[in-house]
């Protein structure tokens, strides 16, 4: 059984860009999650980015792994931004959505289709052939 079987079993056919939710934590202990208790979407830009010490991607469906990126302030690591990169093959035969945590040192790209991760330099632009 793979992740696609699990999705079918649980009938959770979410759009690729909502398979994961981000969560940020500041050094002060403030935690902000993409969706609040009523499902309303929030913006991490309300946080002081210089204080973000953890960026996590939380699965919203079964079978996807959680990912946590801890920033080492003492080593000079800084959170820059989080964004999602959507890919649409023009005949819609395939779509993909990749959540990216961008720091001053590296980027962590998390694929919504299967939860795999790619880590690149912080200026690398990931474009994939679907």
């Amino acid at each position: 059984m793979d992740i696609n079987d699990l999705k079918k079993m649980t009938n959770l056919q979410l759009a690729p860009n909502v398979m994961y939710a981000w969560q940020m934590e500041t050094i002060d202990g403030e935690v902000l999650t993409q969706y609040d208790s009523e499902g309303k979407e929030l913006s991490w830009k309300t946080l002081d980015v210089d204080k973000i010490i953890r960026c996590s991607f939380l699965p919203r469906v079964l079978g996807l792994p959680r990912h946590d990126i801890m920033l080492d302030f003492s080593a000079g690591e800084k959170f820059i931004k989080r964004f999602g990169r959507g890919f649409v093959k023009q005949d819609n035969s395939k779509t993909e959505y990749v959540n990216c945590c961008m720091t001053n040192r590296y980027r962590v790209w998390v694929f919504s289709s299967d939860g795999r991760v790619i880590i690149t330099k912080n200026d690398f632009e990931l474009y994939i052939n679907l």
């Binding site: 759009a15 860009n17 909502v18 979407e41 929030l42 913006s43 830009k45 931004k81 989080r82 964004f83 999602g84 990169r85 959507g86 890919f87 649409v88 093959k89 023009q90 005949d91 819609n92 035969s93 632009e125 474009y127 994939i128 052939n129 679907l130």
Partner: protein, 163 residues
Amino acid sequence: MAASVQIHEMTGTATGVDKTTGTVRFKTAEETTVDTANRLQVPAAGTNYSYTKLLRFYFVSGPSVDITNLRAYSDGTNTFGTGIGVVYTLLGTWSANINTNISGTDVFTKTSGAVIDLDVTNTGPHTGTGYKGDYLRLQMTVGSTANPGTLAAETLTFAYDET
């Protein structure tokens, strides 16, 4: 709310046909129908040009913050065969489709390592709903060395960054 993004084949300044799940067919007529009418002919000499196709991003629902970096690219391999190509130019505003040579760039030179920037003129960040970014104008060229017959489809990939 996470954005819902489509790719439209444009028939006017702000009107188009959703081709996110469909085919864009190059023809000798200016229409969006996917059928075998108005087929491109292999010329005895020189090059025949299809009517151009204008593609553009359409946001059905907008992003929670904004969308940037609208991009497109091919797989880098032209499987249409000898004498057949697809070229592109970028337009900042809508322009009627034409069937004369647009002297564009080979779209198959644009890959995941060298993408087409679709917000050069209509720059982001993009918010809200509706048509966004630049128009990708495509044209098929058919030279005299092309073989007749039905072609298998090629597919472009479109990408965007959502915050």
